[in-house]
Amino acid sequence: MAFYVVQFLTGLASAASLFLVASGLSIIFGVTRIVNFAHGAFYMLGAYVAFTLTERFSGALGFWGGIVAAALVVALVGVIVEMVLLRRIYHSPELFQLLATFGLTLMVQDLVVLIWGPDDLLGRRAPGFKGAVDFFGQNIPSYDLFLIVLSPVVLGILWLLFQRTRWGILVRAATQDRDMVAALGVNQKWLFTSVFAVGVFLAALGGALQIPRDAVHHAMDLRIIVEVFVVVVIGGLGSIIGAFVAAVLVSELNAFGILIFPKISIILVFLVMAVVLIVRPWGLFGKPEAPARRTPGLTVNPWRPLTSNERIGAVVALIAAAALPFVGGNYAMTVGSEIAIFVIFAASLHFLMAVGGLASFGHAAYFGLGAYGVAFLAKMAGLPMIVSLLLGPLLGCLGAAVFGFFCVQLSGVYFAMLTLAFAQIVWSIAFQWVAVTGGDNGILGVWPEKWAAGPASFYWLSLAIAALCVVVLRLIVFSPFGYALRATRDSPLRSEAIGINAKRMQWTAFVIAGTVAGIGGALFAYLKGSVFPDSLGISLSVDALVMVLLGGVETVSGAVIGAIVFKAANIWLVSQTDWSKLVLGGFIVLMVVAFPKGIVGTLEAIMARWRARSSAPKSRVASMEVAE
């Protein structure tokens, strides 16, 4: 019995660190709607700064002072980031801020290694909380008890802050309806900055408090960021109490789950999230989001098919791309094939995001399923390459049909997180089911047949399929189905009123996007000759998001450019420097500032303005002629 009590308390201690970080994320998201990917980076910075401060200033005062000072220092960094970077892009398309914070995360990962070195650092133990307390023969670390007490205290302070101060009232109001808060004359700028500072402070505090029990190292951010997102979503976005309950729930399920299924940790949080979101689409304590007050047509240039000149331009570009084997070597062609494959992948996600208005955080699942489909068919069934290429993507299609059915019941970030949960579940199956998938050692030897084995022929094959996929997706955009889908994106209520079955439209779009991603994955398997669980993983999903956002989500085919730019920059940088993350992150941040609507989106906006300016005088002349 004592054991179960201790295990419960241990779970609570784990929950405490999760809660601190999650509460900050929840506050930031609730008010600013920023999916702050850099939250884990702030957590890590908190730990590193706290390590330095507590090493320098010894004693109890030095330690606790160092922890708090570290959180304050990092909060200050957060304020600078918000003012310099994020303020510029609040009016960018939805989720665009994710791109900026992703760039920051990449930079911080390399910066901490540059500043603090590559070794794992061991922080001091907390003065006064070094030992353990005996509980009927079981030991409970006293620091755990401290954390268990701390988290409800923080929860209480936050509650008072939100319920009893004017600032808290404004924050809650902004969480509910920030347009209305702005209309009532509240200075949003400073509200957002202060909220961001509080959120970052909590993240850094969470990180700093880890140093007595963890190692400080440069991968801490990735270790926590996804789980924290999950906790926030399970709890309900913007709900602090929800974050607390979710953190406890997840940690306790883990603490007791490993007694029965020791391998459960790897997937537990995602299972919990999938179940919670299917049963309660807005998380445990969340409320349904108010229908977005969007005025499409004002912010977006109306889409139109390419003019004949533009079509000729696109064909010329394609021919130029097809000429690569005559000028480039084997390596250039292989890189070209990889870029073409990622064009397919990004275009499929772009279709879902731009046309369907559904941002998926787990799109790699269908890419990877396509790749595994090919690997199964080619290696186990021994089918020829053409057949595998045609049938392999069907696994992606099947996955998208099953998971899409559940996902499209939700919307917004909840939709995104459910796609993430499914992607992680698929990933962990591929990772764990060693007998079938080979686990993380993957399936090897999936090489193309002779006719496609040469780098040039494989490049042409990939390029042709990529061109075909992009063209087909464009045709769908301008088909009746595409119009109906855009109607559900722009106004769910109105489209329903004219008899469009929104869910079915979205589900169909999900399946189309999943299948096209599967085609990309199928080619990828043959390009690399092997399939690993990586191809289903979060980082690939994030890469796809980055490509789409970089290209411009409010465009018809911006992802094509986004994929080419991102993938080419990535491959080149990784080959040239060991600090590729720092440079790539900096590059992304610059792109975000320079192209606040994505590369294609911003260029289109500039061209539209230019056209409007050059046509304006003409129309004035015309009206004068009429007047005369």
């Binding site: 030991n139 409970i140 020791p262 940790s265 390596y331 292989t334 050692n441 993957g442 090897l444 990784v574």
Partner: protein, 401 residues
């Protein structure tokens, strides 16, 4: 003239079968090296220092048969797909004579499969998985470090002497952890049929929630524990275990923990008396190692980690193979490498013909705390050759070429 020369060189390339050109073109030989520099800097930095020292020594001694050795190094970011892109660049654009390196098992396997497909010689440096030389072995791939099986066998030799009968295991939940536990259990149960396995914990790699794991193991009340976690997970596990008294009165056997990469971060928390594999650089008194240690410390003003040894010996081995083959043709390299013996800081090693595994060994000893730092004591060098299964068994494990 220049063009005709190039044309001739190109023809020579075709004749030589896509490979011999690295030597034909100029007075240098290129080796392509791939590792997870950005993902695992703690391990790959000393590794890089090690191979850079080796390159310097080789060229100072006149290069390889008079040709200068050049190593072109690429980062794989910890992703198998990116490692293949890098391998492709090295082979297609840089025309390297062979590929070396890699740390993670899945990346090692990806590059090994690439090497097999493109018929390129590959000397895997770090990856521990048994599959790379056995189940998924191929004739183009050789491996330097003692494999999972060998390290398990070395530990079992000591662990079997312990009186403990009830064992629990803690291992990261991926291929390395799984196969380490599987091999250890198998070998242990062969030697000690009386052993019971009372609990196993599989925290996700890099994400251990140490408190509940330690508590769960303690609840099973084993007499001994096998640990396979390393890096940041190990630090967390040790801290929780120390505070909660998990290791008190229990024997612990632990993979890799004696390597300075993993032992040093533990500082004053280092648990005492764990049976570990590792690299006690301060305690090795052989002339070969002394020479290496002096050169390394003189060049970097730092002590070597195990990664330094691996990086150093990888390039030394590559150079020995290239020198013996006196060609960059992969078939000749394979012929040269099979059965080749060479000196190393740990004594002479041989690349076995039967499975392309080197006989580099490891040190087994016990952890201890000295001046607030973790060290290995009672160390003994275990030769790799003594801890491999019989040839008949290996032949069953490895696919025929």
């Amino acid at each position: 003239m220049q063009r005709r020369h190039l044309l001739g060189a190109a023809l020579a390339v075709v004749v030589a079968g896509m490979s011999g050109n690295a030597m034909a073109q100029s007075g240098e030989i290129k080796i392509g090296e791939i590792n997870s520099y950005s993902l695992l800097p703690a391990f790959t930095e000393p590794y890089r220092k090690g191979w850079q020292l080796a390159v310097e020594e080789i060229n100072a001694a006149g290069g390889i048969n008079g040709k200068k050795l050049v190593v072109i190094s690429k980062d794989d970011g910890g992703k198998p797909a990116d490692a293949q892109t890098a391998a492709n660049e090295l082979v297609s654009s840089e025309n390297v004579a062979m590929l070396t390196g890699t740390f993670l098992s899945n990346i090692g396997l990806a590059v090994s499969d690439f090497a097999n497909q493109k018929k390129v010689f590959f000397l895997a440096a770090e990856p521990l998985t048994d599959a790379i030389t056995w189940a998924k072995g191929n004739r183009y791939t050789f491996r330097l470090r003692p494999s999972n099986y060998m390290q398990a066998a070395m530990l079992v030799e000591q662990a079997a002497k312990l009186p403990a009968k009830k064992w629990a295991t803690i291992a990261p939940n991926y291929e390395y952890g799984q196969s380490a536990v599987a091999v250890f259990k198998k070998l242990m149960s062969e030697k000690r049929p009386d052993i019971q396995w009372v609990d196993e914990q599989w925290p996700p790699q890099g994400k251990i929630d140490a408190g509940p794991v330690v508590q769960a193991v303690a609840a099973a009340n084993p007499e001994a524990i096998l640990n396979v976690t390393f890096g940041a997970d190990l630090v967390k596990l040790v801290r929780e275990g120390n505070t909660r008294g998990l290791f008190k009165g229990r024997s612990v056997v632990s993979f890799l923990t004696g390597e300075p990469e993993y032992l040093d971060p533990l500082k004053e928390e280092t648990p005492e008396g764990w049976i570990v594999t590792g690299y006690p650089w301060y305690d090795i008194k052989t002339p070969e190692h002394d020479k290496f240690l002096k050169a390394y410390q003189a060049k970097y003003n730092d002590y070597p980690r195990l990664g330094s040894i691996v990086g150093y010996q990888t390039i030394k081995a590559a150079a020995a193979i290239l020198a013996k083959a006196n060609s960059t043709d992969p078939e000749k390299l394979i012929a040269a490498a099979e059965g080749l013996s060479m000196p190393s800081p740990f004594g002479e090693i041989t690349f076995r013909k039967i499975d392309h595994q080197s006989t580099l060994g490891a040190f087994v000893g016990k952890t201890a705390l000295k001046d607030g730092k973790g060290i290995m004591v009672d160390t003994a060098y275990k030769k790799g050759a003594d801890f491999l299964p019989s040839d008949a068994e290996v032949e069953k494990l490895r696919p025929k070429d």
